[in-house]
Symmetry: C2
Subunit: 246 residues, 2 copies
C-alpha cells in the first residue's frame, strides 16, 4: 500500500491518499487538544495506543454486524480504511451524565440517564461544534431524516455492543462520540476513531477516569490511562457474573 498525498491534517490524525482510489490511510498523532483547541498538548504514545485500541474495537464491531470503514492496521500508528464522505455530524451517545451535558443541563457528573441519549453536534470548529436538533440538520441539509434515523439506530447498536465490550474489561462506558461517512453508493459506514480521545471510560471498581478527561482536567497520569485502556482492550475479557451463570 503506497502512501499518497496528505489530504487532511486534524488535531489528532492525518489522512493520506493511497494508490487505491477508494482507500485511505489514517495516521494517529500524539497531539491532543481540548475545549475547541484552547488547550493543547502532547500525550506520549497516544498515537500508537489509539491506533491499536481503534483497530481492536473496529474489528469487534464489524464481527458484530456494524458496517465500518476499517480494513487493516498497517503500522503502529496507521490504519487502512475505506474512503468515505464524512457526514459533518458528531454523533454522541451518553449513558451517564458528564462533560457538556452537565454544563448544558446542570446535572451532576455521574448521574445515570434512564435511557441512552443520542445527541448530534455540527462538526464545525469555527462554530465550536454546536448542538443541533433534527430540524437544524434538515435545514442545513446535513443529512436526510432517513439518514438521521439510521445514524441513531447505528449509534445505539454500537452503544449496546461497546457497553458489553467495556463491561467485560472492568470499564464503565460513560459516553462517546462517533462519526459516520457515506460510500459512493450511499452506504453509511462508521468512521473515525474510537479511543480514550473519543470515549469517557471509568474504571468500574474505582471510578478512575481512564480517558482524555485526565488531559482536559489536568488530573495527571494521562499516558498511564491510555496504556491501561490498551492493556484491557488487548487482554482476554473477564467473564462477567451474568455470563458465568449462563
Amino acid at each position: 500500500m503506497q502512501r499518497g498525498e496528505k489530504l487532511y491534517e486534524g488535531k489528532a490524525k492525518v489522512v493520506y491518499a493511497t494508490d487505491q482510489p477508494d482507500q485511505l490511510l489514517i495516521e494517529f498523532k500524539d497531539e491532543a487538544t481540548a475545549f475547541d483547541g484552547k488547550k493543547r498538548g502532547t500525550i506520549a504514545q497516544k498515537g500508537v495506543r489509539n491506533a491499536a485500541i481503534t483497530a481492536v474495537i473496529y474489528r469487534y464491531l464489524q464481527d458484530h454486524g456494524i458496517p465500518t470503514h476499517f480494513l487493516a492496521q498497517v503500522s503502529d500508528t496507521v490504519l487502512l480504511v475505506r474512503k468515505v464522505k464524512i457526514i459533518p455530524l458528531e454523533v454522541v451517545v451518553r449513558n451517564i451524565a458528564a462533560g457538556s451535558f452537565c454544563r448544558r443541563l446542570g446535572w451532576p457528573e455521574g448521574q445515570t440517564l434512564f435511557n441512552p441519549l443520542v445527541e448530534f453536534f455540527y462538526k464545525d470548529d469555527r462554530l465550536g461544534d454546536p448542538l443541533l436538533t433534527e430540524d437544524h440538520i434538515q435545514l442545513l441539509r446535513l443529512a436526510t431524516p432517513e439518514q438521521v434515523e439510521r445514524l441513531k439506530t447505528l449509534a445505539l447498536q454500537v452503544n449496546q455492543l461497546l457497553q458489553r465490550f467495556w463491561s467485560e474489561r472492568g470499564i464503565v462506558l460513560v459516553d462517546f462520540k462517533l462519526e459516520f461517512g457515506q460510500t459512493p453508493t450511499g452506504e453509511i459506514l462508521l468512521a473515525d476513531e474510537i479511543s480514550p480521545d473519543t470515549c469517557r471510560l471509568w474504571d468500574a471498581s474505582t471510578g478512575d477516569k481512564l480517558d482524555k478527561d485526565r488531559f482536559r482536567q489536568d488530573l495527571g497520569r494521562v499516558e498511564e490511562a491510555y496504556a491501561e485502556i490498551l492493556r484491557r482492550v488487548t487482554s482476554s475479557p473477564a467473564a462477567t457474573p451474568a455470563e458465568r451463570g449462563k
Copy 2:
C-alpha cells in the same frame, strides 16, 4: 377583580393572584434585560405598550382558534389571564435568521429559512436557557412526546396567523418566542406575552428593527420602536395587494 399576593416577579412582568383561584393578573414593567440579565435598562412606556400590544394580539389569535390564557385587559399595564402551570420551555419560531440562530450556525442575519423552524429552549436562567433536542425534553420530563407535537403544531399555527397579522401592518415577522401552560384538566394554552420584547419585527419597507434588538444592540430610538409597533397594531390593517384582488 381583587389583586392578591405577588406570586412571581420576573424581568419584565409581575404576576399576582386574584380572588379567583383560576385567574391571575400580569403587570407589565418598563424594565428590560438582555443576554441572560447581563444587560439591564428601562424602556419608557414599555409596560403600557407591551400590555396593549399583547392584548390585541391575543384577541386576534383567540378569534382565529388559538387557545390562550388571555381573558381581559384590566388597566394600562395589567392583563387578566387564566391560571396555568407554565411548561418550562421557550418555544421559538424562526422565519428569517437572526440572533442566537446566527451565532449558533454561522448564518448571516436576514437569510430566509426555507421552512419555519421551531426550536425549544429550557426556561432556566441559571443555565442560560440552553437549546434542547426533543430527546432532552423527554429525558428531563419537561413534556411528553404528544405535548411536544402539540406545542410545535400550535407554534406553527401562531406563526402563520402572526405572519399575516404583521404583514398587513407592513412588518416582517423574523422570529418570536412563545410560552405555553397547562390547565388543571391538561389543556395546553398559549401564555405569556407577545410583544417587541419577544418578537423580532422589521419594517417591511426600510428593514428597520422595531423590537428589543434596538435595546440589545444599542441602536437608539428604542421607545419609538415600541410606540410604532403599538401604533400599527391598533390602526386598521392596510389591505394587502393579494386581498385587494379578492
